[in-house]
């Protein structure tokens, strides 16, 4: 793993931390005063700072530090989370996110923005916590201060996780440390006088410590560097093998440390583990660690020799009982016993000098005894529960997988589905009645299995829309600041899942629409008050599943669309003729017209006239629809409906002029057999069909796609009633319906190009390519112009 890979992992984790930070801050903003929330927020900033330090991202470290300092004031309850304070905090989180992006992708960020926020944060910390502030200042000014005592001597350990202390040894830039380090400056003087003190540490890691990639032995090793140590391991909590949770944490250590360093120095070793362990540090007057430990814990402690673990850590040395690198290894008794054997073999300082057998027996007895101690385990559970938070509760296991691999799997499964369909079809075609039911039974099972595999693979890509919704809250804040409006964003259904490809493409149109809602939708606070509304506007962002699609609504409680003004604008911009008579719905839809903008003055936010038509196009490109519903004085609601995935589609297979086409099932409202008496000519070339006494235009798909020039007889055809984007219905004429099936969407553009009226291609059961109809485009083409007069396509048979 080279440096860049590690760095990439750091940035991925940053993304998660930033998300957590924002979630936490928003919760606090809504009045959540749980100290654990504050802690989670603090932890997120702290982790970013720590990682950034290891990669010498100075800008990021400096800002994260100031941020962290202020959060620490909040953590210690010296700073109240008032709305004003939270506003600064949220903006600081935005800057931190920007800095992270800049560090990752290069580029620069306006330094004044950074500085002004930093000083705002400092002011907060200063105002509320005088003495803390003094510390912060001295730290910021003296950042990587040369006189900081080097806590780690030159001794190196090559295979290390990036913890702050180790970062110094591995040749990274020095890490500006938290206060603890700086207090050393003061403490350093006293140290010389106090000379060696003996500290007594009890270190009891939680399982989380290991889950987060920390390793107790590494921490203990760091400790060893601070002075002379005697370490005793407490095996008392280790249960019998049957009850042993391989990922649990059962060991604890008592350390007697004779050192010249201060207590803070020693605590600093555990800086990154501090939330995931119980740590007590106290002065110890008695110098005998063993007897002391005996008395206290009330059982036999096991002398613990780190040098043995060094050997075991070396994968070549031992038969791999301990996970190599000591990275993911929760301490299991096997490892402990391996350590024990090692002690007996090399035993440099066996404090309790017992023979091997006796020792093993003692451990066994201990283990037995512990087995009875379920109450002990109970308290531990309770502790875990108490420490609460997202990470602590039984975490569902996740792995990071390269998206390309998932995509390859999805493609392969797509092939499998096609192959399975081809196989079934071949069997049906060649069936002479003798094939028997077993083959069909087997095929049915195969079909079911492939379908299930496909669903599961698709589920891998499904992601909740939450991250994208969170980004929107930032957009809302920024626009609200720019427009001097007071806005609250309410989100619903953030856990609605949708395919990753859809999510990725959703960000841009969603940002546009949110900006629009705040900039154009909501009135200024004065106008709102005058209209008898709350000065604070509400933008509601909701996601839900509806009939196999995801529906996203963006609703504002603003003034609604000013239809007269929209009309006037459209006439001025010559989008419509002055005498046209439009329905409310048609007027509303004018805002999706390319080049339409009602903004009186062009602003940076929206109103460059590229807003809503771009939104509409990008949503259509996703196979989605967008509609608008507006009530004067009450606000507007934009509704987007999108497919859950871009990889498969349920379609109706139809034939048109000897060609096979697939029509997306979601577009079809109903199918019917037209009767001659229901078809009426309308104007020069159009025909209408009456369906239960409502008329709707007939569209001959074969003609629109130029498959044939002559009109078909509707009576000989099948009409598919489709809902087009405006909400109106159209009847598409096709020659016949072959069936209904799920098809895998294949790009036509990859090797060819975009074809008007065709959304994509797919491969049918017979192995041939079929084209997927773009219903909206066909409807639009039939409306905009008469069918093209190109030479009809030669039958390619």
């Amino acid at each position: 793993m080279d440096m860049n890979e590690i760095k990439e992992i750091f940035f991925q984790e940053c993304e998660e931390q930033l998300a957590e930070l924002e979630t936490g801050l928003l919760a606090m903003n809504d009045g959540d005063c749980d100290p654990e929330t504050v802690n989670a927020v603090f932890r997120a900033v702290h982790s970013i700072k720590g990682g950034a330090g290891a990669f010498a991202l100075d800008e990021l470290v400096a800002f994260a530090h100031v941020f962290e300092t202020t959060l620490d004031c909040m953590r210690s309850n010296t700073l109240e989370p008032t709305p004003d304070v939270m506003k600064v905090m949220l903006r600081a989180a935005d800057v931190l996110a920007d800095l992270t992006i800049v560090s990752r992708e290069g580029g620069s960020i306006d330094p004044s923005r950074c500085e002004s926020l930093a000083s705002e944060l400092e002011a907060l910390a200063k105002g509320e916590a005088e003495e803390k502030d003094a510390q912060c200042r001295s730290q910021i000014e003296s950042s990587p201060s040369p006189e900081t005592p080097d806590p780690a001597p030159a001794e190196t350990m090559p295979d290390l996780a990036v913890t702050a202390v180790n970062a110094e040894e591995t040749g990274f830039a020095p890490v500006p440390f938290s206060f603890d380090d700086f207090e050393d400056d003061a403490g350093a003087q006293t140290q010389t006088e106090t000379a060696n003190t003996v500290f007594r540490l009890v270190f009891r890691p939680h399982a989380d410590l290991y889950t987060k990639g920390n390793e107790a032995t590494l921490l203990l090793r760091d400790l060893v560097k601070h002075g002379e140590t005697k370490i005793a391991c407490d095996l008392s909590e280790v249960p019998l093998l049957d009850d042993l949770d391989p990922e649990g944490a059962y060991l604890s250590w008592t350390v007697l440390l004779t050192t010249a360093k201060s207590e803070d120095d020693i605590r600093a070793v555990f800086e990154f583990a501090e939330w995931d362990c119980d740590l007590t540090v106290g002065l110890d007057s008695e110098a005998d660690p063993d007897s002391q430990a005996d008395d206290d814990v009330g059982m036999q402690p096991v002398p613990f020799d780190l040098s043995v673990l060094d050997e075991v850590d070396d994968p070549s040395a031992e038969g791999g009982i301990v996970p190599e690198g000591g990275f993911e290894g929760p301490d299991d008794p096997l490892a402990a016993e391996a350590g024990q054997d090692g002690v007996n073999a090399t035993a440099p300082e066996p404090a309790n000098d017992i023979g091997t057998d006796a020792r093993t027996a003692a451990i066994a007895a201990e283990v037995m005894k512990r087995n009875a101690g379920t109450d002990e385990a109970g308290t531990r559970d309770e502790r875990t529960a108490r420490s609460g938070g997202a990470a602590q509760t039984p975490v569902s296991q996740t792995i990071r997988v390269d998206l390309d691999r998932v995509d390859r799997l999805i493609n392969l499964v797509g092939e499998l589905v096609i192959n399975q369909a081809m196989l079934s079809q071949t069997v049906v075609e060649t069936d002479d009645g003798n094939a028997g039911s077993t083959i069909h039974l087997g095929l049915d099972e195969l079909q079911q299995l492939t379908r299930e595999i496909q669903d599961s693979v698709m589920a891998i890509r499904a992601q909740p829309v939450k991250p994208i919704f969170q980004r929107m809250s930032r957009t809302v804040r920024e626009i609200a600041d720019l427009t001097d409006k007071s806005v609250r964003l309410v989100t619903e259904g953030e856990n609605t899942e949708v395919d990753k490809t859809v999510i990725d493409k959703l960000a841009e149109p969603l940002t546009h629409m949110i900006r629009n809602a705040v900039d154009h939708g909501l009135e200024s606070p004065q106008e709102r008050i005058a209209a008898g509304k709350n000065a604070e506007g509400v933008v509601r962002l909701a996601a839900k599943h509806r009939s196999g699609r995801i529906v996203i609504e963006i609703a504002d409680d603003g003034a609604g669309i000013d239809r007269e003004r929209v009309m006037q604008k459209a006439i001025n911009q010559e989008l419509i003729s002055p005498d046209s008579n439009l329905s409310d719905e048609e007027i509303d839809n004018l805002i999706f017209h390319p080049g339409f903008s009602t903004a009186e003055k062009l602003s940076d936010i929206s109103g460059r006239g590229v807003g809503m038509d771009v939104v509409k196009r990008s949503i259509q490109a996703l196979g989605g629809r967008v509609s608008i519903h507006s009530q004067p004085g009450k606000g507007s609601t934009f509704t987007m409906s999108l497919p859950l995935t871009l990889a498969v589609l349920d379609g109706m297979v139809v034939s048109v002029a000897n060609q096979t086409l697939v029509v997306p099932l979601t577009a079809i409202v109903e199918t019917l057999q037209p009767e001659a008496s229901h078809v009426h000519p309308f104007g020069s070339s159009q025909r209408l069909i009456s369906i239960r006494n409502t008329f709707c235009p007939l569209i001959d798909v074969g003609q629109v796609l130029n498959f044939r020039s002559a009109e078909t007889d509707p009576v000989e055809s099948v009409a598919l009633l489709v809902e087009s984007e405006g909400g109106g219905q159209r009847a598409l004429l096709v020659d016949g319906i072959q069936g209904q099936r799920q098809v895998v969407i294949k790009s036509l553009e990859a090797n060819y190009m975009n074809v008007p009226g065709i959304a994509a291609a797919t491969i049918l059961g017979d192995g041939r390519v079929a084209l997927i109809l773009d219903v909206d485009a066909v409807v639009a083409a039939s409306r905009d112009k008469p069918p093209r007069n190109d030479v009809p396509l030669a039958a390619a048979e």
Binding site: N411, I418, L748, N751, V755, V769, A770, L793, A796
Partner: protein, 155 residues
């Protein structure tokens, strides 16, 4: 460009020769992915005259080009005896419909005669030269030049 052919010594090209009607043509072997028999293609609406449609090549939607029509000759009525040369042109794959593949040639730069002054403008835009092989004349086609403009022509 097709220059990326692995030159055995310097300036050697390996080419695949094929027939269309009475004439022989060749393309750089490096741009050829595979050669397969004709399978019926699915027509595409509003397609240019030389696009016969698309076929399924192991899950990839592959457009089929009637090379004869593309070169300005008579459009071909495809039969089972016709052959599709699956080629890579820039980032796209496409299938070229030809009458049959005849030869694999190794030629050096000096064997390629220029068509300067003997061909009309249209032919010169896609020929890299002509070769004399055992008394036959083979026209060396530059696929990139032939299809770089096809997008705009087709639209």
């Amino acid at each position: 460009m097709t220059d990326e052919a692995t030159p055995k010594s310097h300036n050697e090209h390996e080419l695949i020769a094929f027939r269309i009607g009475e004439q022989e043509f060749c393309v750089n072997i490096m741009s050829v992915r595979e050669i397969r028999g004709w399978t019926p293609a699915t027509g595409i609406p509003h397609a240019p005259y030389f696009v016969l449609g698309v076929i399924n090549l192991r899950g990839v939607v592959l457009p089929i080009i009637d090379l004869s029509a593309r070169l300005g000759m008579r459009p071909v009525k495809p039969t089972d005896r016709h052959v599709i040369i699956v080629s890579q042109v820039a980032t796209r794959s496409m299938g070229l419909l030809v009458d049959g593949v005849s030869d694999i040639l190794t030629v050096s730069d000096t064997d390629i005669q220029t068509t300067q002054g003997m061909s009309r403008e249209f032919d010169r835009s896609f020929t890299r030269g002509i070769l004399a092989v055992e008394g036959r004349m083979i026209c060396f086609i530059d696929l990139d030049a032939l299809f770089s403009g096809s997008e705009s022509e087709a639209a």
